[in-house]
Amino acid sequence: MPKIDVSHKDLCGLIGRKLSTEQLADEVLYAKGELDEVNGDTLKIDIKDTNRPDLWSAEGVAREIRARSKKSGLQVYEVRKSSYVVNVDTKSASQPMTVSVVAKNIHIDDAFMSQIIQLQEKLSVTFGRNRKDISMGIYDIDKITFPLTYTSLHPEKIRLVPLDFKREINGNEILELHPKGKEFGHLLKGHEQYPIWVDANKNILSMPPIINSDSHGKVVKSTKNVFIECTGYDMKILNTAICILAAQMADRGANLYSVKVNYGKKSILTPDMSPKKFYTTVSYVNKVIGTGLTDKKFIELAEKSLYDAKIVGRKVEILYPAYRQDIMHERDIVEDIAISLGFNSLEPLNPKLITKGGLLRDQIYADRIAEVMTGCGFQEILSYTLTNTSNLFEKMNIAGKAIEIEKPQSSNWSVFRTSLLPGLMEFLAKNKHVEYPQSVFEIGDTIVEDQSVQTRSKDVPKMTAVISAAVVNYDQISSTLDALLRNIGIEYTLKKSSHPSFIEGRTAEILVGKTHTGFIGEIHPAVLNGWDLENPVVAFEIDLEEIFNLLRKR
């Protein structure tokens, strides 16, 4: 969900109408936007669509709003032929492909400048996955000499003054010293040669995907004509990006010129701004939306969506802008038509479907168990399923293995619980100042490895109860266990056992038939010390998977 900043005044200028913030809040819906914040002239717009980079600028938003009021149809972008040539001769495996455009006669003011910077940032970071797929540069055409070469060099041979720097440094130093080098240098790690742009006078213009040259790759407010390039791996992605950048310039009144890009003997003309074609039918669109649009009405809505539409036999031929890369299926056209129609102008329809609702059996059982436990005077608690090995094992004086997540945000939440008891101990530790006795329980999933299933792991529901007070005894907890199991009709026995979390001679395992179904006992003082608890604790934990299996068989 890219968030963009735009100037209210600038946006209205691009739309060609004066709109209040209230009006804009309604109209940005056409650009799948939501007006998040108004701060003087600055509007923060949240563009919902992560697959529509063409909307991530004031120009893109204005284009959609403009079209809805004017039924503009497809906007044609003229790209004039030129003699600008780029020769691609890169030996670097990093971003071997490039596309470019020349835009002339631009007038850069503060608002336009910030849109240029913002769109490049959004395209390379969000759409280009942190410059992994797209890196781009913009240059003052009057400071460089064509033809340009997109080539590569050993980093120590690359010497330039990077943007915002005062002295010339080499390619390795750029990665070490420049903030952008530190941020994106990993994209070049391991490559023998780094990609560079060089002009006919052998000036190094930039070192993609890191930084431009301060002397030859900088655009200021007085710049009138620019050269824009995108480098990467995938021509489909690069074409989308260059079309979006070209459209931004053209929408601000620039004249676009093509650039011939030579890959050895093969050459291509960029940008390719010719419209793309897709077919749908009016009946399909009506079926998905639930409307009865006529052909005429459909064409009107298509034109509001920046399409050209014409009926060809039973089908509709749609011509749509080159910068749209999201149209894969007729469905994508349906959405645009629905947005032009306005979601809020559609009458909601309540489908009368005859279906039978129901809860999962296990959910019902868990609920009944909670009922018995509250009847026994126990407070239900809830904890996270993520925890850490210190709580789960070390403080409980046991050894064990748990499913571990990679790169956890915090080491406090790094493994999945295999038992609920540590969570209840933590709860007691957090509530030492609260009146005793404290009787609490939790029902929840533990997550454990299981090589026999496709996900190599399974959720095992458990139920754990603890009592802590100045004086507690085994009978208090064993009678609770008995009350629970008797009231859900489960027969069980207790067998003297030993468990490192419990006092020797005061712990037993819970057997249902011959199956081990949990444990019960008085917590070992060493464990109490580990949790910094001062009152004794008795506890039991039962495995509900086994219990639920038995209940389901009834």
Binding site: H329, T355, Q363, L382
Partner: protein, 418 residues
Amino acid sequence: MTYILTQEGKNYLKHGLPEKRLVELLKDRNGIQMNDAASALGKEFSIALQWCKKYKCIDVVNGKLILTNHENIKDVEDLQAGMELLSKGKEPINILILLSRKLAEKAGESIIERAEKFVGKEITNLNLEIIKTGTWKKVKIKPYNVEAVGKRQIGKRHPYNKFLQETRQKLVEMGFQEMTGPTIELEFWNFDALFQPQNHPSRGWTQTYSLVRPKDGLLPDKALVERVKAAHENGWRTGSTGWGYKWDPAKATKLMPRAHGTAMSARMLANKPKIPGKYFAISRCYRPDVIDATHGVEFNQTEGIVLDESLTLRSLLGILKEFALEFAGAEKVKFLPDYYPFTEPSVQMSAKHPKLGWVELGGAGIFREELTQPLGVNVPVIAWGLGIDRLAMFKLGIGDIRYLFSQNLDWLRKQVVV
């Protein structure tokens, strides 16, 4: 220590123990109606019946009393003999049994005598002697400070869990069947089956977790996997161009903590759902967000699907509107365009909550055909998600999402249950 017969003991010594009397009656009139026996024995009938059952000497069949084995009550003879001895001032060998049946008591300590001690005094506690003998008429009962407030703790459900339970119940009433799925999920179900391309930014580690161990699982049914692969690469038979990249099965076998409940919807679709069908799940989901007042790394998602040939975008709006009324008590709603990689069109709904004003209540969309058809579903499927946590926070009066999992016992104890 000397013992004497109680009033009851004296009575039985004279007339016979009730169980003995019942057996004697049945010896004469075996099979007598219970009512008749009761009137013959009077108020001692229930005691008689209780002991006869205990001795297993009678059966009750269709309201009739049948003598089975009168030999079984020979203990009665010992009691009778004991009472006789005691009446002559001798301590019988079975005195403890007589005491336990309240046929005998300590001499000089009759209930009346014990009660006598309280006459004319101020007492704090009422007791058996005072109540039974009527001595309460002759004592003064000390008043309590009845204005002192008593306090005790009770067992309660966790308020958030209770809220989720009520949500489940509402959805069931609306015809939704609950579904389930594993916490640790294959990327296949979390992403690929939902038509999210493998190079989509949301698959990077900054937004979802991966595991150190176990790392990889097994893909489901091969034919299904092939259809999903084809949908990604070229659209399969759906009329779509697909994403146009080479789909990598190795990526789909990666395991991850479920990032959204939609993974369960995908499993449901592939598992022969009913048509028409309505399904929902409330599930724990995991995303490496920065933990703050409105984001936790672990949170509950409420979402589901509706399947039917007749469904359209307008029915989607109708379903959302019903949710708004049901969950936020909101009559007024507004719909905004939204984006999910797996639905098209996608809608976000804001509802006018009576107290909160406009709240973003949920999102929904119609699943793309590239998603539904490879999973074997050929009717429109509406997918919806509800942001009920926000309503839960409001209902429970809390401003911090972490408090939904409150670990504060004092707060939990103070929560009211209605």
